[in-house]
């Protein structure tokens, strides 16, 4: 710190500013889990599979837009 000194330990209940964003991240992470087997059978299943994953993404995208409006990406 350029010669400065700290008074307390650095370990603290750190204010993690992106916490609400991480909740949304977990939702998308679970979607990613579903995408793994979906990718393997995609070509065999055809357009139906595309529609279904599209619906899944749209539902999550609604959550994304809601979070954006609520300001979870703003480093609160």
């Amino acid at each position: 710190m350029g010669g400065g000194e700290a008074e307390t330990h650095a370990w603290q209940r750190y204010h993690l500013r992106c916490y609400p964003m991480l909740l949304l991240f977990i939702a998308f992470e679970m979607e990613m889990m579903f995408m793994y087997p979906w990718a393997v059978v995609f070509v065999a299943e055809g357009g139906k599979a595309l529609m279904e994953m599209g619906m899944f993404l749209v539902i999550l995208a609604v959550g994304l837009v809601y979070g954006w409006r609520e300001g979870i990406f703003r480093w609160q």
């Binding site: 330990h9 370990w11 603290q12 750190y14 609160q76």
Partner: protein, 493 residues
Amino acid sequence: MSARRALAAAAPVAVFVAVGEGTSDRVDDLCLRAEIERVASPRHASVLLVAGGVRERDVASLRRLHDQLPHPRATLCWASDIPAHFGTPRTLPPHAAPVLALRELYRQLLTGEHPSESDLLPDEPPAPWRGIGEYGQGGKGMMGGTPYGRPMPMTDDDLRDGLALDVYTLRLGPFMPTLPAGLVLTLTLQGDVIQHARMESPPLWPAPPSSPHAAHAAAVRQVEPLDESSILHKQGSSAAASESSKLGDSGATGSSAGQSGQDDNRYTPGIARTLAHREHQRAAQHLRGVARMLAVLELAPLAERCRRMACAIQHGDSVPIAPLRKALVRSGAFAAIPAGLGQLDPPMAQALGGAALRAAGDAVDERLHDRAYRELDFRVLTQRDGDVRARLHQWLDEAEQSMHLASRAGDLAPAAASHADERDVGHDPLPADDAVNMPAPNHDAFATLLCGLEWNEAMLVINSFDVAALRRMYRPPKDSPEEAGATHHGHAM
């Protein structure tokens, strides 16, 4: 010497620089050399370079810093007296070439000829563990009490969202590479957002006083006069640079002027300074400010390029600035800075003056009153917004304007250097004129600017002001007298 050490000796010397009074520019030019690697943390350094006079109140921090260097370590004091209780480091007079001395010191460290310096401070925690109970427990509580060892942080409300989590107070020292040299801040953080900020010590001037009048005043203040660069006229620049490069160290130097020749300065009082020279100094100072901002934006090679240009300009070369601006635009430097960050409201801008005021839209410039500038059709440049991005634009615009003026000026001499002008160019003005003709800020401008900002944004804001503006924001604590003269002795450079 083993092969490993021989290989290490061939590497660039990892130096951490503790910058003192009036030496920031020269240190920047020194670190452009390929043989020196300026590191951001003392843990990555082998040599501690103490350049210039260190303030009395900063000596304790310097000792702490010294102990943070890993072994093998050594200290070199350049143009500085050895600070109190600092052991016996090697010293170097101001006019000597530090590059050779640093390399020699490093080589001797590795071969063992120079012993690694021992700790200056005792290696003990401030409140050592003294067990009382059966299991060694003791003290009066970890949270909010006076425990043995170090306490943990306590909670407090947050500015942005009201959660009450831990606050962390840290003191960023005078030798922090991200901040201007000499600036000491106390920040209270929650996470990485600043809740309170206070400037404990103002930053030091980056360049030595250049007018004989200011030098005499500095001498009166018990600081010996500092040298001025010997390169004055544009015409004589390349000749003088190549001459002094022969006098300087014999290491491999590039053919471009401005690489060497820095080391051979003489103090030459009373030389008339032309308008071209002064505009070159101004452009160089602005470019150094731009370089500091680029470093915060993680554009380190562009920052080095900027400093290289500043060094060349300071020695009288006429370097075009347009390619640098194009490089900045392409790298997204302007786009990366949020709009409206660090915005100055009009009374604060009035109080700061200089480039910050012009970036906020006020066409106020000392040079308008000068006949020589009027002959050259000088026009004041301003920006609209007064935020960080505007100040960056202002620096680049003014640097370009200065180069343009200098190229047309020839041998024109302006009127006597005004103090405000001296300050804007980074030189130390007379102490009494620090507050000349400007209303003092009536509130804590610094705290207002930084409060609620996240770390990266705060670093951008701090580095968007030049040293003169930061010093204007400093409010000394009410009980202690202004320590204008309490500088540790610095040698003539």
